[in-house]
């Protein structure tokens, strides 16, 4: 498996989308942490363990997940931002982040995660 059991934190508030991402990641050989539906939950997961990569929905039940993106950038954890706002809606300091525009094909996500995860 190319994913090699790397742990990916899923930060996504829509239950169905989270389930889809979870299935796609598991199928691609990743192991899944989460999903986290709020900033608070995401920060809780990050405090408990260091994932290899993160899938981050930009809008979590009306709140922006920018604090999570900031924390990931600070700790050097690679992440993919999934957003319905498009690349123009990226928060300050994350304009160069990898972006998946919702709705996206789960295989795109797994391919992207495969690229950004550091080689073992």
């Amino acid at each position: 498996m190319p994913a090699d059991g790397r742990r990916v934190l899923v930060v996504e508030d829509e239950a169905l989308v989270a389930m889809l991402v979870e299935d796609a990641l598991l199928d691609a050989g990743f192991s899944v942490i989460g999903p986290a539906a709020t900033v608070e939950e995401a920060m809780g997961f990050l405090a408990a363990e260091r994932p290899d990569a993160v899938v981050l929905d930009l809008n979590l039940a009306g709140e922006t997940s920018t604090p999570v993106a900031d924390a990931l950038a600070l700790r050097g954890i690679p992440y993919v931002i999934a957003t319905g706002y498009g690349a123009s809606g990226l928060p300050a300091g994350h304009q160069k982040a990898m972006v998946l525009a919702k709705p996206y094909d789960p295989s795109e996500l797994t391919a992207m995660l495969g690229r950004i995860c550091a080689p073992v």
């Binding site: 239950a15 169905l16 989308v17 389930m19 039940a61 009306g62 706002y85 709705p103």
Partner: protein
């Protein structure tokens, strides 16, 4: 004698009528020469201020004499004697005369005798001159001749004096007329000046009125306008300008007032006070229509559109700045709101697509028909939540309406007569299931809205066997709802709808609603003490026994995903002997609006 008196009388008449002094004097000479029988006669006029006399008029003289010859009043002149003595001067024979010397012209005319008398002037005036008769032969002059000459001279003097007076009067008249004319001209000029002044005053007043009109316009313009001095002080400004500026001066590059000013341009960059249009205008630059967010002290910052234009004096130096400020805050806020709304609508649409996509990809079914059913049910559940939210302007969704939409057909009393009538599509999972599975029980034919109301009514009356429409006895509804009015926050409506849909689908496929006598009771309470927790209990009875080893299916996964993961609640499921009992606990305060 008589002839002389007749001559006097004739001359008197003439002199009274004549107006030309030379004509009078010439006529006098002619008549006096005739009367005394002399060949020559003349009137010498004393030229004033001069010691000489002019031969003013005469008879018998060669050309070039009358009006030209002058005689000096020297000691040896006969005229001098006449003037100084006032007596008549008579010479009977010039050859015997030694009192004076004959002037040349007399010698040339061969004068041998003469007599002259003084012509007196008017009262208080010097003598006019001398009247003289000259004879080319020596002769005597009688006393009567001298008396005649005197009388004659007096007539001449009177006539001359009369003409003088007339001339003086005429001159005085002319002077008067001249002065009147001059005065009239002055008056006319003064009048013209007054008219001009009045015209100018009218023009000034008109322009003042116009200016006053303009000022009124400027005062009430919804645009701030002001003239700014190089110091940054407002010289004049209309009320709108003062309102927008909020202080008596603008920041200018050299005044150091900038710290009190906070302004940002469209890109959010801080604008330095020396770059404000007013300050730039004072440096001679033109800046038109720059928008920035401008804060006055502690007030809410407002968007203003500011222009600055330098005002130059005669020497091209900047003497002031014209600054115009327009409040474009409402315009900017509306644009921002519009952009935000557009973004939000776009985001929601994308999000909904992502959810629908997930529902499609996650749904498993053995046949195409059942796949379509499952998908339609799930999408209908999503749509129901959206519809209810939209009806409530996205502030929330009514819990009871959401469940009614899902369980509609089971909430109404079923009339056997109405058997076979299909429920409308909007009825959700129950309707779809009933349609597809050809539920053994007859479904009501009432309209969806009426069904909800009827269900509640039936529930409240709790009277099995109540007749509807006066027809045959009805069967009691198979599902019941009970609970107070609860509004689900906007963010909770869709996941909750999905959760209820999965429960209903499960009940219709495998649970109480799959058996003819099965019943479902849904009840809820709102626990306000603990931060608005909704506690909902789903109780199925009378259904088939559950399979002994149930593996968690897609339904329970969705239930957990929505209620636990998404909404932060709890799901407890228990398969009791009579059927499934499921408790959903959901914190409503967790969901931020929108």
């Amino acid at each position: 004698m008589l002839r002389q008196q007749t001559v006097l009388a004739r001359f008197g008449e003439f002199a009274l009528k004549a107006e030309d002094i030379d004509a009078i004097l010439t006529e006098a000479c002619r008549l006096v020469g005739e009367a005394l029988g002399t060949d020559l006669a003349k009137v010498m006029e004393h030229e004033h201020g001069q010691d000489r006399m002019l031969l003013r008029a005469g008879i018998g003289w060669r050309p070039g004499v009358v009006g030209h010859v002058r005689v000096n009043l020297s000691d040896d002149a006969a005229e001098f004697l006449a003037v100084t003595t006032g007596e008549a001067v008579i010479t009977a024979d010039t050859g015997q005369e030694d009192r004076f010397r004959l002037p040349a012209f007399l010698v040339e005319h061969g004068v041998r005798a003469f007599a002259n008398v003084l012509i007196l002037g008017g009262e208080g005036r010097p003598p006019f001159g001398v009247l003289e008769v000259d004879s080319v032969t020596p002769r005597d002059f009688l006393d009567s001749d001298v008396a005649f000459l005197r009388s004659y001279a007096n007539l001449i003097g009177g006539a001359v004096e009369r003409l003088r007076a007339i001339a003086a009067l005429r001159a005085s008249n002319q002077e008067l007329e001249r002065r009147v004319e001059e005065r009239t001209r002055e008056l006319r000029r003064a009048n013209d000046r007054l008219r001009q002044a009045a015209r100018e005053r009218d023009e000034v007043q008109a322009s003042l009125r116009e200016a006053a009109g303009m000022q009124t316009v400027v005062e009430h313009l919804p645009i701030g306008a002001a003239l700014i001095a190089p110091s940054g002080d407002v010289i004049i400004g209309n009320p709108e300008f003062r309102r927008l500026l909020g202080r008596p001066r603008i920041p200018s590059a050299d005044q150091g007032h900038g710290d009190a000013w906070i302004a940002f341009d469209g890109e959010g960059r801080r604008i330095k006070p020396q770059d404000f249009p007013g300050a730039r205008a004072l440096r001679g630059e033109v800046t038109l229509g720059v928008d920035f967010l401008h804060a006055v002290d502690d007030q809410q910052p407002r968007w203003c559109r500011i222009s600055g234009v330098p005002v130059k004096g005669p020497d091209r130096r900047v003497i002031a700045a014209l600054v115009v400020m327009i409040d474009v805050d409402d315009e900017h806020r509306a644009q921002e709101r519009q952009a935000l709304l557009t973004r939000e609508v776009d985001h929601r649409a994308k999000n909904m697509l992502a959810v629908v996509q997930a529902a499609l990809r996650l749904t498993r079914a053995e046949t195409i028909d059942s796949f379509v059913h499952a998908i339609e049910g799930r999408i209908a559940a999503l749509a129901r939540a959206q519809t209810l939210l939209a009806a409530d302007r996205w502030s929330g969704a009514d819990l009871r309406s959401l469940i009614q939409g899902e369980l509609g057909p089971f909430l109404v009393t079923a009339a056997p007569e109405a058997q076979g009538a299909a429920a409308p599509e909007a009825q959700g999972a129950a309707a779809l299931e009933a349609q597809g599975a050809a539920a053994p029980e007859a479904q009501g034919a009432a309209a969806p809205e009426a069904q909800g109301a009827a269900a509640l009514e039936a529930q409240g009356a709790a009277a099995p066997g109540t007749t509807q429409n006066g027809a045959a006895p009805c069967q009691a509804p198979r599902a019941s709802l009970s609970g107070e009015t609860v509004v689900l926050p906007a963010g909770a409506a869709q996941p909750f709808s999905m959760a209820i849909h999965e429960l209903a689908t499960n009940a219709i496929k495998y649970g109480a609603l799959s058996a003819p006598d099965g019943r479902l009771a849904v009840s809820w309470t709102l626990d306000r003490a603990a931060g608005q927790w909704l506690r909902l209990r789903w109780v199925e009875t009378g259904g088939p026994p559950p399979p002994p080893h149930r593996t968690p299916g897609f339904g329970s996964r969705v239930l957990h995903g929505t209620v636990q993961d998404q909404l932060g609640g709890r799901v407890t499921m228990a398969w009791e002997a009579p059927g499934l009992v499921c408790d959903l606990e959901i914190p409503l305060h967790r969901q931020p609006p929108g």
